[in-house]
Structures are given as structure tokens and as C-alpha cells.
Symmetry: C2
Subunit: 145 residues, 2 copies
DNA sequence: GTTCCAATTGGAT
DNA sequence: GATCCAATTGGAA
């Protein structure tokens, strides 16, 4: 398998860069955007669809999560793998979402929007809860069919 | 009881006004700061202690709540009077904090910091939860004494 | 001692 | 259908 890697800073598209330049990586002529130090990547094509100016940070979080995780992962994992303090010994502990990818998404969004990490974490928590409910409803629907 | 009321816009102190002018009201030579349209007031002396520049909005929320409500009210009321969705039929519904005063605090903080109301609401929710726990701990301590 | 945080939930939007 | 929200909790910061 032949591949060449070059890392450099570049402006891909004005629409994606209202707040910073991007670090990109090229693999076999394919351009990927690096989200953070964990080297989480997003295909250029996908990243260019992000209009950070108009998008709320919560939506950016959800779209990045959807790019880097499957619906199943989002529905079954948590950020911390900790039990809910309100349901200790009641609800099963969920495994942790890959902290590298989550960390890169966290930092990327926090920097893009210049907001606190804890706000991004909150958005992730809600997104995961919604993914879980979506899956649950889907199963319930299939059962009644 | 003799009193004169004049309402006008005035700068009280630079430290309180990095983001706006204030509306104040004078009652018997005492100056009160109006927080919002609900006419919730804070004594000038107290308001002048607020250094909004340095204070986080969450702290401003807590201090205003403490000025306008008793610890008992904060410990026993909620913003919405709704049950927790996670404990429906399990936990008793708490009465609603006076929505006029809460509304004025909400708007005042949101405007001062130019942040979303929902962020302020979140801070209020946390503050009420903490007030409840503080009261609970105090009672437990008294019981063991 | 005070403040902040994330997991869970059903409903509202 | 997707997104947002507040009440509850114990522990972390």
C-alpha cells in the first residue's frame, strides 16, 4: 500500500475558516481535515459542508459525532463511562466513547466557537441521550410491526 | 407613610456598568436598582458589590438569587414546578419560585453577559439543587449532634 | 463550604 | 424525526 503523508496548514474554503486556519493531511491525494491533536480526521468533502457561521455549536457537535461514530456507538456509550449519580446501582454503566475522537471533537468545536469545553460536553451528553432514545423508539416500532 | 418615587436611567458606578446603563428607583432617598420589567429591586449598596467584569455569570446568578430569596425558598422550590422527567411519580413536585423575580434575574444576567437565557436557567437549576443539598446536610448534621 | 459537572428521563419545541 | 430543555443525584474540583 503506497501512500504519501504531508501535513501543512491551509485554507480549504472561506466558509469553514471564519475563526482559524485548518490543519490537513493528504493520503493518496485525498485531503483530510485534522480536528485535533488526537489526529481525528474528517474528509474534506464532509468538512466543507460545515457552515460554522450559521450552525449552532450544538449542531456542529452532532454532525461531527455522526461522522466519527456509528449510531450504535452513540446510542450505547457515554462520555465518561460513569454511572448517573441519580441512578447508582440502578442503571447499567455504559462504556466510554473513544476519548481520542471525542477529545478532538470537543476541542475543535470549543475553538471554532470560542466557547467553554463544558458547554460542548453538555451538547455531547444531550446528543448521546437523543441517539439512545432514537434507537429505543426504532426498536419499539419494529416490535409492534 | 411618605414616599417619593422617581424612575430614571443613571450610571451608579463604573464597575457595575460595563455593558449597559441601569434603571434605578428612589424610595425615601434610598436608591434601588431595577433588575427588569418585573420591578425586582436590589439595594444600591448590594448591587455595587457586583463586579460583573470579574464574576462568572453563574456566580452573579447565585448572588442575585440569594438577595431576592431566602435559603429556605431556594432549597424547596424549582424554576418550573415540574417534576423531574427522570423521577415522575417518585419525587414530590416542588412549588415554583416566584416567576417575576426569577424572570428579572434571568433577563438581567443574560443581558449583562450577553448570553442565552437557557444558560442562565441552567445556572439557576444548579444553584437550587445546591441550596437543597446544603439544607439537607445541615439537617443531617443537626440530627447527629 | 461552595461551585461545577455528567447521566438519566419525558416532554416541549 | 431531530433537537432542546429542566429536575434529580453523588462526587469532583
Amino acid at each position: 500500500m503506497k501512500f504519501a503523508i504531508k501535513s501543512f496548514r491551509i485554507s480549504i474554503s472561506p466558509i469553514c475558516n471564519f475563526n482559524s486556519t485548518l490543519t490537513v493531511i493528504i493520503i493518496d491525494s485525498e485531503l483530510w481535515v485534522l480536528l485535533g491533536a488526537g489526529c481525528t480526521t474528517v474528509p474534506r468533502r464532509e468538512y466543507e459542508k460545515f457552515d460554522f457561521r450559521r450552525m449552532k455549536y450544538t449542531i456542529a457537535v452532532r454532525r461531527l459525532l455522526n461522522l466519527k461514530f456509528t449510531k450504535e456507538e452513540l446510542a450505547t456509550h457515554s462520555q465518561t463511562a460513569k454511572e448517573s449519580p441519580a441512578f447508582i446501582g440502578v442503571k447499567a454503566r455504559k462504556p466510554q466513547l473513544d476519548p481520542v475522537r471525542v477529545g478532538d471533537i470537543r476541542l475543535h468545536v470549543a475553538q471554532k466557537y470560542n466557547i467553554d469545553i463544558s458547554l460542548v460536553n453538555k451538547a455531547i451528553t444531550v446528543a448521546l441521550a437523543d441517539a439512545r432514545k432514537t434507537k429505543k423508539r426504532k426498536i419499539e416500532k419494529e416490535d409492534t410491526d
